[in-house]
């Protein structure tokens, strides 16, 4: 039934909300610097529901396969947010930078539609980073 779709979709709403609550959950999983993403952009530090984020990320990568490289994604996120400047200043500052970029994405229409949900490009990239992690 059409009206139940949102709650049965490939990206469950529970995940989406948790993952996008947004970009602001405190780090639940200790990160380890193994995969080439700069330490400060380790997704585990930013997303509360990695499972959900990864599901979104996989769908984003299907739409934008050319971005399927952690280093590239991290650079894109860095460039948008200037997050690199935050360095190890802590997740709070990073989260703020990402949140601002997310708003700028929405204002500029730099969004993607994944499973019907409208996501800021920054959100989608962060999820993609989680999926590659």
């Amino acid at each position: 039934m059409r009206d139940m779709q949102p709650f049965r979709s490939a990206v469950p709403r529970r995940w989406l909300l948790a993952a996008l609550a947004t970009v602001l959950a405190s780090p639940a999983v200790p990160w380890a610097d193994r995969r080439g993403a700069p330490r400060h952009l380790r997704p585990e530090r930013l997303l509360s529901d990695l499972g959900g984020a990864r599901a979104i990320g996989r769908q984003y990568l299907a739409l934008a396969p050319q971005e399927a490289a952690p280093g590239l994604l991290a650079r894109c996120l860095d460039a948008g947010t200037g997050a690199g400047a935050c360095g190890d200043a802590g997740p709070e500052r990073l989260r703020r930078a990402l949140d601002e970029q997310r708003r700028r994405d929405f204002a500029a229409g730099d969004t993607v539609v994944i499973d019907g949900w409208i996501l800021a490009r920054t959100e989608a990239r962060l999820c993609a980073l989680a999926a590659l992690g």
Binding site: D3, S9, R103, F106, A107, V113, W117, I118
Partner: protein
């Protein structure tokens, strides 16, 4: 004076300076504006003062295009016309709606919004609305909670709610008391008879369902039978002009437009639902300009329409626990019962609920847990499409008139506009932290299909207006090109539809036509306006 056709002798010919055919929003406005003048005004109405099944059946017709409700339920055929069950939601057209827009083929009125401004003021009064002030900034704090959209993309559009005015009931006494007006009930105009050159109307042929006939010899005629029926009467009057009156360029009946309307997204709220109260309708406000009942809707800015080549569109925002047909019907029934009213069409409501038990159950579950969502529906302008049209069917009605056949068609731009508008609203909701939107699958599909379309019963465009007879049936004064004393009133003259419900503009155009006819009748008959 209000009379029944049967009070006239069978076969009688009635003289009138002005004959208005159809007593709906347009016809009643015209007669009301021209009451107490020296001109004898005859307002001819097919039905009586109350609904009657046999008369209503004259409206039955065929639907051969996009799914559309049966044509005899999509309008009403008695004194007051379809305003006997309209909802009174009103908004004027925007300035851009009148423009010739390069990206909207067949767009452009021979009028501007400014030309219509004085008439809109008077139409507000006819429709019992508040002041003619639709600019949100003029209402200041009286409209709290308006969303601060990025104005190059979205703007807030205001609508007003009337009581809603039942034109028949509300203006009956005024017309009955007017010495120069005769309302003729239960009289159907079945043919407009023109001279051999088809340059002037000679008479109108009348018939009743009881078999009585008669004629009207008018100096001037206004056809005001509604957006579908206006075309039908012109097409069926084919004795001299084989394709019907005003149809030398095969335009009568074409460009039929509606306001495609469908729920197409929901959003998980990030703010309390009440925060957007001004968007849900029936919001009473009092400001410096006066008092009115409002609904705000996010709409596409003119800027983005021009930049991206979009139609005009605005979005209804609502909220609920569930938006499935079964649950929505349940809510409507519960509301009626709580107000001590029997719900309209209970049988249909029960069937809808029974057909959607899953949706109903989910709605009730979410209701019990107080989990709301915002939902969004579009009111989108339909691009004028010459293949979307009203023609005559082979079958005839009880009066011998060919029935109408509606072939309603949409264009790709209609859905492109709805999709874009919805996405913009979703982006703005997310940017402003109001909620996160999910678009329905059908809206994302790159085709022209619509799901669960809920039409608005707005019938527009079938006798479109243009100063060029090759492009329009009527001129800027609503006069049929080539026929000196024949006019058309109602939304059939709209070349484009905007997103706004049509009746306020129908009434404004009727007010404007009344002014034109006052001058013209004065010229023809000599002397002033009378009074």
């Amino acid at each position: 004076m209000i009379r029944d056709f049967h009070e006239h002798a069978d076969g009688a010919t009635i003289e009138a300076d002005l004959c208005i055919v159809g007593a709906g929003a347009a016809g009643i406005t015209l007669a009301h504006e021209l009451r107490n003048s020296r001109r004898r005004v005859l307002l001819v109405e097919s039905g009586g003062l109350d609904a009657d099944a046999a008369t209503q059946e004259l409206y039955a017709g065929e639907n051969v295009g996009m799914p559309y409700p049966p044509l005899d339920t999509a309008r009403l055929r008695f004194f007051g016309g379809t305003t006997n069950h309209w909802d009174g939601h009103c908004a004027p057209l925007d300035a851009i709606d009148f423009e010739k827009r390069r990206w909207v083929p067949h767009s452009g009125w021979p009028l501007t919004r400014a030309d219509l401004a004085p008439a809109y003021e008077r139409a507000q009064v006819m429709c019992e609305l508040g002041p003619c002030e639709y600019r949100p900034e003029r209402w200041g704090d009286a409209l709290p909670g308006l969303i601060d959209f990025e104005s190059r993309r979205l703007v807030n559009r205001l609508w007003q709610f009337g009581p809603p005015t039942r034109f028949g009931r509300h203006y009956r006494d005024a017309l009955n008391d007017a010495a120069n007006v005769e309302v003729l009930l239960n009289a159907n105009v079945v043919e407009i008879v023109v001279n051999d050159e088809a340059t002037a109307v000679r008479k109108l042929r009348l018939r009743s369902l009881e078999g009585r006939s008669g004629a009207i010899r008018p100096r001037t005629v206004v056809v005001a039978c509604g957006g579908i029926e206006n075309a039908r009467l012109l097409l069926a009057s084919d004795r001299v002009m084989k394709n019907g009156l005003g149809n030398a360029n095969d335009l009568v009946g074409r460009f039929f437009q509606e306001h495609p309307h469908a729920i197409f997204a929901f959003a998980v709220p990030a703010v309390p639902i009440d925060r957007l109260g001004v968007y849900y309708g029936n919001f009473a406000a009092r400001g410096e300009a006066g008092a009115a009942v409002f609904q705000a809707k996010p709409g596409l800015s003119e800027d983005i329409q021009r930049r991206e080549g979009l139609l005009n569109c605005c979005i209804d925002v609502g909220w609920g626990y569930q938006r499935s047909p079964g649950y929505l019907k349940f809510r409507a029934v519960a509301k009626s019962l709580a107000q001590g009213r029997m719900p309209r069409d209970l049988g249909h409501a029960v069937l809808t609920m029974a057909g959607d038990l899953g949706g109903l159950a989910e709605g009730l579950y979410r209701r019990a847990r107080d989990q709301n969502v915002f939902w969004f529906a579009c009111s989108v302008e339909q691009a004028p499409n010459p293949d979307s049209r009203v023609t005559l069917a082979a079958e005839r009605d009880a009066l011998g008139l060919p029935r109408v056949r509606l072939d309603w068609r949409l264009s790709p731009l209609d859905k492109i506009t709805a999709r874009r508008a919805c996405r913009l609203v979703g982006e703005e909701f997310a940017r402003l932290g109001l909620g996160r939107m999910r678009l329905d699958d059908w809206l994302l599909a790159d085709d022209t299909t619509w799901q669960d379309m809920d039409v608005r019963y707005h019938h527009m465009g079938t006798t479109r207006m243009s100063d060029d007879p090759k492009r329009g049936v009527v001129d800027r004064h609503c006069r049929v090109h080539g026929i000196d004393n024949l006019y058309v009133a109602g939304s059939s003259v709209f070349p484009t539809s905007g997103y706004a419900n049509p009746t306020l503009t129908i009434v404004a155009m009727a007010v404007r036509l009344a002014d034109h006819l006052t001058d013209r009748l004065a010229d023809r008959l000599g002397g002033g306006n009378g009074g």
